[in-house]
Symmetry: C2
Subunit: 316 residues, 2 copies
């Protein structure tokens, strides 16, 4: 089969297509003929070996697929080695895709959907009426978090994004107010967007000074969930006594821990697929790239040129 393989760590240029043996299913696995592999920001970390889990060379990147099983069923799943014509999926963590959803829509709901869902349910559980701040609100996780927060009764959803276009998208998807995430005083801007009050829930994936500012914007019993470090700059360590003094909560979230508990994963995906199929939420789909253009997809993603789910189509 054709697959994208990384034989040395580096930027997008290390993503090249090669021929590899077809993968062989083990117990509990099925072979999937891939019609779309999702492209995630984490994949750019995987490629340069700055990901949370250390990578061993050579490897096929990617973590999520949609495609067909041997029996013809169209399913989606988390799967390693996704940038390929075929992938192995776990039968307990594989979900049928409703006909209403395109490959891109299904992929938009997988890693990013399950992340948004569990951020608001598990990591920093939101309660109806609360103020929810979403960083990168036009991004793959962020735009779904905005929609889910509204669906679950948030009192106010504040979408933070770096450009007017992205903020406009966040508003179209339901953000009550938006904030320019590049301002000097992000904490002040967030509180201003909340009538001068501190906030209840923040979903943050930049790290560094962005995290620090959002932590300071939390109200008592406020929760900030950190699920990425897109700025590649660490946040400032927090003294638990400061949290005691302020009754603040900091939650870390890595989807790998959801993936290890298929029940958690399937619960989120089943709800997301249904909500999208019935039009309650709208997955945002971006461009589709042929397998040979994986490097271009990573370049576009890193340059923040894209909006919506990027899909790699191994049939092209």
């Amino acid at each position: 089969m054709r697959a994208v393989q990384v034989t040395e760590f580096g930027g997008p240029e290390v993503l090249t297509v090669t021929d590899l043996p077809d993968p062989e299913p083990q117990d509990g696995q099925h072979l999937l003929t891939v019609t779309g592999a999702g492209i995630n920001y984490a994949d750019t970390h995987q490629t340069e070996d700055t990901y949370l889990a250390a990578q061993e060379l050579p490897f096929v990147p990617g973590t999520e697929v949609v495609g067909h099983l041997a029996d013809g069923r169209r399913v989606a799943a988390l799967a390693p080695r996704a940038y390929a014509e075929q992938a192995l999926v776990d039968e307990h963590a594989t979900l049928e895709v409703p006909d209403e959803l395109s490959d891109g829509a299904a992929l938009a709901l997988l890693v990013q959907g399950a992340t948004a869902w569990h951020l608001l349910r598990t990591a920093a559980p939101m309660r109806p009426g609360e103020t929810v701040v979403v960083l990168a609100a036009a991004g793959g996780v962020g735009n779904l978090a905005v929609q889910l927060a509204k669906r679950w009764g948030a009192g106010r959803v504040i979408g933070c994004a770096s450009t007017p276009d992205k903020r406009a998208l966040a508003e179209r998807l339901g953000a009550d107010v938006t904030v320019d995430s590049t301002v000097e005083d992000l904490r002040g801007a967030i509180e201003e967007a909340n009538d001068g009050e501190p906030v209840d829930v923040v979903l943050e994936m930049a790290g560094g000074p962005t995290f620090d500012a959002c932590y300071r914007a939390l109200a008592p019993f406020g929760r900030i969930a950190l699920y990425g470090m897109a700025s590649r700059t660490p946040a400032t360590p927090i003294d638990p006594m400061d949290q005691l003094r302020t009754s603040k909560t900091v939650a870390g979230f890595w989807l790998a821990h959801v993936a290890r508990q298929p029940r958690m994963l399937v619960e989120a995906l089943a709800d997301l697929f249904t909500a999208a199929a019935t039009g309650e939420i709208t997955p945002v789909v971006g461009g589709t790239y042929p397998l040979t253009q994986a490097h271009q997809a990573h370049e576009d993603l890193l340059a923040r040129r894209t909006t919506g789910k990027l899909v790699l189509d191994p049939r092209q």
Copy 2:
């Protein structure tokens, strides 16, 4: 009226009884004839000015009372300046005490009850089936947390305490297993008490190495709530990226933030009073001290000689 007043910061010896003018109720306040003031560990911090909120001299210590209103109703409330014959209570944060509850029982459920309740509901919300670890499991907050965790369907409650007597009490109150909190490898002991597995929820009030060990014992999506620093040693600051890598949550909790939202306070107290009146939970009552013996109560508390709620009775 007679009251305990602190005119210089220090140990228990600075607690002396003096005569002060009767307090005058402002709008929304009632004057309470105090029959019991609760003694809390935080009061020892107040006295030595190591409390979260800075104290101004002179002051009357204490934060919780039970007694009678002018109309004869027997009520309990959070109230500053509690170590006195009379105290001012907020009408929105005052709760009638069921006849079944003694003064000591009602006081055991106030600061400590509301803390235990909101630790498990708000700060580190537990879900049925989860493993809950309670530090100082025979203490005022701890013993109620053990009982509430069982009542709310914890899969396993692990009670940590420093002596065999305290561990025996924790077991009588429902702890499934107990751990000696003075062992060298506390993390190992906690995981051993959980069949070698990391744990879901930890309620911690010692700080320092105890907090550090408990944080390490958390499973993915595990939550540790810190609500005190009895060891007077700070915990090690935490890099949010470490939380991301491990999907761990750290929550700080200070009851003052509950007290500022009477709805949160009353919700907890109403449930606790009903549960205690019907025998679902058992408040543990310790000794009663006359007002003149406040210093002795603090000495006994600091020496860890006591078990159960300590009450100061200004009528004695």
